[in-house]
């Protein structure tokens, strides 16, 4: 009984503290996945995201003087847990970071009702770029269609694509099928043969059949839209079948250091398109090292902190931080609301100067958003595995947006009409 009284007292105290803490903070919850089948990629991303905000809180006392509360809600990448987390945080949240295509698709239709912006950086649903239709959804700095366009550009830079064969190894899932319309279109224009090879969710770790097909077809390039365990599976198979690694190109989620470390030297030459880059010498990384990691406030380890995914987490948080700052300046208040943050996300202007000011030198390409353009369409770098780490193998590339401008508008309109009544932003006059 005595024990119970103590617990009860602690509970009351805890609740008191809990409400006190809510008063002055910027609540940007993160639907994290540190558990479950994709935890290997989730942990470095979440650590990067959390450490950036911890660093801001330690160094500047938050953003605009208000501390950031980047609490996590664990989903384990499951859509059901995602709904639970969304319902749990939505009353106070400034933003939803769903971290899975499935959760994004579930939350997306509710945004017009709940009026909380979704930040799905570089994943989710490509037509989300159309800000006039998807008023509350953002996927900067670039989308999958940008990635497909840049990868084709890279292949073209190595010689005319006419008559060549490109295998498209992809996860058989909405995410993996996303770039297909663009690749098909470009294949028709440039005259290369596209060979889609799907990898089922259940065969991610055993791709012998797919690689047998690749060996038989001898494609000039293999483009991979892989995720989670699929990447490591594909890379080890590629090494086993002695596929020339320099002709093997992955999307940005397929550029995870740990996957390549499995094969080490044998993986040298493997490429991955990316719109973030780990620059250990960037001021922001030094601040994180000093104020967060050395101070023992982080869960990360040195090897992970130097990787691509950790720095991607940092970049994503930095973009969110910049949006908060933009909104604070516009509305003249430090404690912004969710609709105000939406304005901030819509008016990010990440110029080279601004990137240097934020201390993100070389970690993210410049981009800007508008009420019509919710993706930013930043350029990207082709990263290459040199046997030990990823290095930049190209200058900044930019996607050829004309290729899919109409497609974005068309698909966005299609979504809006099948979800009628769906309010669109009529005031916005800018073009994507």
């Amino acid at each position: 009984m005595k024990h119970f009284t103590k617990t009860a007292a602690a509970a009351v105290l805890g609740l008191g503290l809990g409400t006190a803490a809510v008063a002055q903070e910027l609540y940007v919850p993160n639907l994290a996945y540190r558990t479950g089948p994709f935890a290997a990629t989730g942990i470095p991303l979440m650590n990067g995201q959390a450490d950036y905000f911890t660093m801001l809180n330690e160094r500047d006392g938050g953003i605009g003087g208000v501390p950031v509360n980047a609490a996590e809600c664990e989903t384990g990448y499951s859509t059901e847990k995602g709904v639970e987390c969304y319902e749990k945080v939505k009353s106070d949240a400034l933003v939803t970071q769903p971290w899975s295509t499935g959760i994004t698709l579930q939350v997306l239709p509710k945004t017009n009702v709940d009026e909380i912006p979704i930040l799905a950086p570089g994943y989710g649903f490509s037509p989300m770029a159309d800000g006039t239709v998807f008023q509350w959804a953002f996927n900067m700095p670039a989308g999958y269609w940008d990635a497909a366009s840049m990868i084709v550009q890279h292949m073209e830079s190595e010689g005319d694509l006419d008559g060549k064969k490109v295998a498209f190894l992809h996860l058989d899932h909405p995410f993996g099928k996303e770039p297909l319309p663009i690749l098909e279109k470009l294949a028709g224009e440039k005259g290369f043969e596209l060979l889609p090879i799907p990898v089922g969710l259940k065969e991610m770790q055993n791709q012998s059949a797919q690689w047998l097909q690749i060996r038989r077809e001898r494609p000039d390039y293999v483009v991979m839209w892989g995720w989670g365990a699929m990447n490591a599976g594909a890379i080890t198979e590629a090494v086993k079948t002695k596929y020339p690694m320099e002709n093997f190109i992955g999307v940005w989620w397929a550029g995870h250091d740990a996957d390549l470390r499995l094969v080490g030297e044998d993986g040298a030459g493997y490429k991955s398109i990316s719109w973030s880059f780990p620059n250990a010498d960037a001021p922001v990384m030094r601040d994180i090292q000093e104020l967060v990691i050395d101070a023992g406030l982080s869960e990360t380890n040195p090897e992970e902190a130097s990787g691509v995914f950790y720095s991607r987490g940092v970049v994503i948080s930095a973009i969110l931080g910049e949006a908060i700052r933009t909104a604070q300046e516009e509305y003249g208040t430090a404690e912004i609301s969710a609709p105000q943050l939406r304005w901030g996300l819509e008016n990010i202007n990440m110029t080279e100067e601004r990137i240097t000011e934020l201390g993100l030198d070389g970690m993210v390409p410049p981009f800007s958003t508008s009420c019509a353009n919710h993706t930013g369409h930043s350029g990207g770098w082709m990263l290459e595995w040199d046997g030990e780490k990823f290095i930049k193998a190209s200058d900044l590339m930019t996607a050829n947006q004309d290729d899919y401008q109409d497609l974005i508008a068309e698909k966005a309109q299609e979504y809006a009409s099948s979800n009628a009544p769906w309010p669109t932003n009529e005031e916005c006059s800018a073009t994507n």
Binding site: L15, G102, K177, N419
Partner: protein
């Protein structure tokens, strides 16, 4: 004392065969219904609706469908998730092809499609039994999920490959889609689940139920006393798949709002099977108890650390949660291998003879 049955005389066969021959049972059910229909809607928050009330009802309904097949007719099935998918996709197609259709009618009709598919995959049950049948239904599971991915017509050639629930109106109120209120959806789900429960109770008590039980207990003996096994098994597959299909349609239209094909993959089948097994095979009440334990408890457990003021990281809570729920499942199965429903049956029996046990 509370459950004293002395003095409740039955003077006719009808009274003796009533749904609740013991008055206290009827009163208890009345109280539960009062909570479900009046008190919960008055007090529940959005969070409670979306994470506890609605999913528990839908999962309980799915488990009930499976229980008819596995618990009453004795045919083990691992394809529940896929049959739920058939219901969901059928409902999606009905709604998009006939936009004027009443959503409730569409949901109830979509069960017909999954019943048809269920019967087709139930045909092997005439020749094979037990674990071998489980493998045959597993084939349905893999085939159907594959079909949901490959047959683009099913999701209207949507770029994302997922089905999205549109806003649907009924008598001027949104009942489905992002514009629908949680209370409306809850009442709709509750209404359909009540209806289905009533149907299931009566089916399992009647002639058909007895046929199923005979088939389950010993099919050769059942055949000898004149039961048509083919009819009995296929009807079990049809009824079970119908209920499961309706649950699947509710799952997407009244709860999730969007679904990708892999949502209906084997983990969903297992989850529903666990609810049925832990709740109690061959029982209707058990499905609800099982759903509360498997679907509701983890949500509540997730809230505990924050409510007590402990700051544990969200990932740790999730790990603890899995361990606690897993431990509880083992505990309940050791204490009562026949499931939670049997546990309640024993408690009730003890209450009836209390305070004078033999």
């Amino acid at each position: 004392m509370l459950y004293r049955t002395a003095g409740q005389f039955k003077t006719s066969y009808t009274a003796d065969q009533a749904l609740f021959p013991v008055r206290q049972d009827a009163v208890l059910l009345g109280v539960i219904l009062l909570f479900a229909y009046v008190i919960f809607p008055l007090t529940a928050s959005e969070f409670a609706y979306q994470t506890l009330l609605i999913p528990i009802l839908i999962y309980a309904l799915a488990a009930m469908g499976l229980n008819i097949l596995t618990g009453y007719a004795g045919q083990l099935s691992l394809g529940t998730g896929a049959f739920m998918g058939v219901g969901a996709y059928a409902c999606y197609k009905l709604i998009t092809i006939f936009p004027w259709m009443n959503p409730v009618v569409a949901i109830l009709l979509s069960g017909v499609f999954s019943a048809g598919v269920g019967v087709v995959f139930g045909i092997p049950s005439l020749r094979i039994k037990g674990f071998y049948l489980a493998i045959a239904t597993l084939a349905a599971q893999f085939f159907l999920v594959w079909l949901f991915e490959k047959w683009a017509w099913l999701y209207n050639y949507n770029a994302s490959g997922a089905i999205q629930v549109p806003n649907l109106e009924m008598f001027g109120v949104y009942v489905s889609g992002p514009q629908a209120g949680s209370t409306t959806q809850y009442y709709l789900v509750l209404g359909i689940v009540t209806l289905m429960t009533l149907l299931c109770i009566n089916l399992t008590r009647g002639n058909l139920g007895r046929t199923w039980k005979a088939t389950r207990d010993m099919d050769i003996a059942a055949e000898l006393i004149g039961i048509n096994l083919m009819k009995s098994k296929l009807i079990a597959f049809a009824v079970s798949s119908y209920v499961v299909g309706v649950a699947g349609a509710l799952y997407v239209f009244m709860w999730k709002g969007a679904a990708e094909p892999n949502v209906f993959d084997i983990p969903l089948s297992f989850q529903v099977l666990f609810i049925a097994i832990i709740g109690g095979l061959g029982s209707i009440l058990g499905n609800y108890l099982g759903a509360i334990l498997i679907v509701g408890l983890p949500v509540v457990l997730n809230l505990v650390p924050a409510a007590v003021g402990l700051s544990i990281s969200s990932a740790t809570v999730e790990h603890l949660n899995v361990m606690i729920v897993g431990g509880l499942i083992i505990f309940f199965l050791i204490v009562e291998p026949h499931g939670l429903a049997q546990l309640w049956r024993l408690i009730r029996e003890k209450l009836i003879i209390w305070p004078f046990p033999h």
